[in-house]
Symmetry: C2
Subunit: 474 residues, 2 copies
């Protein structure tokens, strides 16, 4: 088993086998540490922390109450495992970097792999970034500075700079000897873990790659060019990480060379780096669909309230528009108050049917199963689904309303408006996300509010309009 750092988890495999138990284990740790902190027994805290995996320590920090968190940091800040920083929620990382103090963070960052260290720097404000850069060794500083010249969330920030590169005239034996020699040189320049070696031309361009498992299976005399893979997926250093993640998933890549504008090899991205990106991008989409701009679990209430208020403001505006539509029919509602009882149903059915469509379409766009070439076929299908479910639920709701208010015409009007709104939901649910993508707006966040505004407005207008026309003889 390989991982970035030896695993020091003290639990036995059996203890960790089930989700519920992982939970229970962390709950126990949190409780024990809280107790020890309350009793101010810093030695006991150290004993509990010592055998933990760095990701568990990060979890612990996230779960503790703010005052306990500060006390814990005081205890562990002197030999702070740098990997903990990398594992922390971004929201908290900034706060904890400040609390640890420049000297401790600088020491931690110097020990990290270049790509992990970069991720810590990314989170800092300009001023703090400068101070921290000045506090780390010059060689590290140059690497970090270089990485930070690439755009945020780009392949250049994600890649590992340490590579094993060999010239095309070498053999398998020479390559292995080279690695052994460099390894003896205090591992100088060799990455801690790697999966491929790269064959590079005189100008620094990648000619091919050899997976280590193939290198190990080959005879020493074999020229590297004979066994190298030449069909490589080159990743430009400026490519967005979302696109990198997509390529890795789509092409089942395990590692890929990163090249600069001149086509020279500057680094490599491996699939374990991409796992975090995939998780991050998925998380963004998930939160966006629920109207949250980013994970705010660890943010203070005032900040959370402010960030969430944006989407709520959009909701309010939508509802003011819907209210304006309803108010046009005040006279109708006054005459038949049953309409007020039933109208939220029309809006809600359209809104939820539309949300289902938006969800599937946004997903399809993210996985690139959907594009302009097949959007109309999907729209046609979704209209069909709208007709089917619209008809079904119109019948159900219409019948219910007809019996409830002893008014068959009212039931028919409710059913008619529902069919109309649910068919509209199929069409709008498909086209709105597609249009947003064209305007470079993230459909995961914006499509829902847009859609429900239309289904609210149309739902109320249609139901109350039909009622005015057919029930009151207006």
């Amino acid at each position: 088993m390989s991982e970035r750092e030896p695993d020091k988890d003290p639990t036995t495999p059996a203890e960790e086998s089930a989700s519920q138990e992982t939970y229970a284990f962390m709950d126990k740790v949190v409780a024990e540490v809280s107790d020890a902190l309350a009793a101010e027994e810093s030695q006991r805290v150290k004993q509990i922390i010592e055998p933990l995996h760095y990701s568990d320590v990060a979890d612990l920090v996230e779960r503790l109450a703010p005052e306990d968190r500060d006390a814990l940091l005081e205890i562990i800040k002197r030999d702070f495992d740098p990997e903990i920083l990398h594992e922390l929620d971004e929201e908290l990382r900034d706060e904890i970097v400040k609390k640890l103090g420049l000297k401790n963070v600088a020491a931690a960052v110097s020990e990290m792999d270049s790509d992990d260290a970069v991720s810590v720097f990314e989170e800092l404000a300009d001023n703090e970034r400068k101070q921290l850069l000045a506090a780390i060794p010059a060689a590290d500083r140059a690497v970090i500075r270089d990485a930070l010249t690439y755009p945020e969330d780009s392949a250049g920030r994600l890649m590992q700079r340490e590579l094993v590169e060999v010239p095309p005239n070498w053999t398998v034996g020479e390559t292995i000897d080279f690695m052994r020699r460099t390894a003896d040189d205090e591992f100088q320049d060799l990455p801690e873990v790697f999966y491929d070696i790269f064959i590079v031309s005189g100008e620094g361009k990648p000619l091919g790659a050899i997976p280590l498992s193939r290198l190990l299976r080959s005879r020493r005399q074999m020229p590297v060019t004979e066994i190298m893979e030449t069909e490589m997926q080159l990743i430009p250093a400026t490519m967005d990480q979302e696109e990198v993640a997509f390529l890795f998933r789509q092409r089942d890549l395990v590692s890929a060379p990163v090249v600069d504008e001149a086509g020279r090899l500057v680094g490599a991205i491996t699939v374990d780096d991409v796992v975090d990106v995939i998780q991050e991008e998925n998380e963004e989409d998930f939160l966006g669909l629920g109207g949250v701009a980013g994970s705010d679990l660890h943010a203070p209430p005032v900040e959370t309230a402010w960030r969430r208020s944006h989407w709520l403001f959009v909701t309010l505006v939508n509802n003011v528009i819907a209210a304006a539509v309803i108010s046009r029919f005040e006279a109708t509602i006054e005459q038949m108050v049953a309409l007020a009882v039933l109208m939220p149903m029309v809006a809600a059915m359209g809104g939820n049917a539309g949300t289902q469509v938006v969800t599937v379409v946004v997903r399809g766009l993210a996985t690139k199963e959907l594009s302009p070439s097949n959007i109309w076929r999907v729209a046609a299908k979704e209209i069909g689904v709208g007709v089917l479910n619209g008809a079904g639920f119109a019948l159900l709701a219409g019948t219910l309303a007809a019996f409830w208010f002893e008014n068959a015409a009212l039931g028919a009007v409710l059913g008619g408006a529902m069919v109309f709104n649910m068919v509209w939901a199929g069409l709008a649910g498909t086209l709105i996300p597609m249009a947003l993508v064209r305007f470079r707006i993230d459909p995961a966040i914006a499509a829902g509010p847009f859609l429900t505004t239309t289904t609210d407005v149309l739902g109320f207008f249609c139901f109350l309009g039909l009622a005015t026309r057919f029930l009151l003889g207006g």
Copy 2:
């Protein structure tokens, strides 16, 4: 660069650098293939397909209109790249397996890696599974049968069975020689690509693992036990894949040994297998939040309508309950029709604020940042957020209503109901997902409908109740 299959994509790296261009490229392929199929030029179709990566062919199959899809399958079924099957949307895979015919699928499956082949079998109905099993070579059949004995979505289904295992008394040199020897034997038994070798005891228990990069850096005389990693994260073969994915993310694993109940090494899982699981699990949560039980982009309209109707039925029931609440206040609405205009606003603001909370909490539960140990702290925070945003939006909406209907008391009632509903949303949004988890119900799907029922009912009840009490002097 290593990947499961050589990449045959004909586009240059520059052409593929941007998302929009990947799009454009596939759109072009789809258009060309459709044209060629329409003209019945199967030779041209073959020429377009030939240089494509298997994942692009899968995309193509997904994007074509159903009749074109059938025509394309007729053309390529004779030498069908097995990896295409693995890449296809599950929805379509079943259909395409049927259309390809038993003989062609059997030929394709026999060529696949064991874990990929298993995933094809998983999708089949019992009867088809038996037929296909009978049609493949006996050795493959035994492997597949064995894999299928593990529970669905378990580590045993995910793992690769082909491993490099060596005894603890070997040296690095012996290990490399062994691999070279086995490789000459037509790659017999050696996995195509691997990242670790495992040191295994006489009873078959894993003692340690060596990442290939470390093996390559070590001198030939070095005993394997000297350089092996002993702190391994053992994965029980019955562990759920979601838990496996969590461990890989949490512990930054690249590969991990899988053991049976007796602790014997039976396989290994590598991070590239886990990428698909992470994507799948995220997709499920995303779709669930939007009220869709699974990706239905490629399902026929009738089936889609039926599957989506479940959630819509819940929506209808919610709204019937809400309607029953509203109907209790018919007399009030008759006297003051402005209430009908404003009441959807109270429900919507509470519903959307609650959806934000549910989204963050469901995410926190999935990443295990949230557990019973800190749920009350989060609930307290969310109530605080509800108070803040409730007060802010109550002021805004209340003032607006007061001016609109020239009735300050109406504004105050609207504001009061809104504060109440948004504070409730904070509490219920935290506790409902937590309670659902306890009853082993997936909160991503169920928490939203539960929550909005409460915010609808409370919103209408509170607003109309306050209005009856304070505005009409009831």
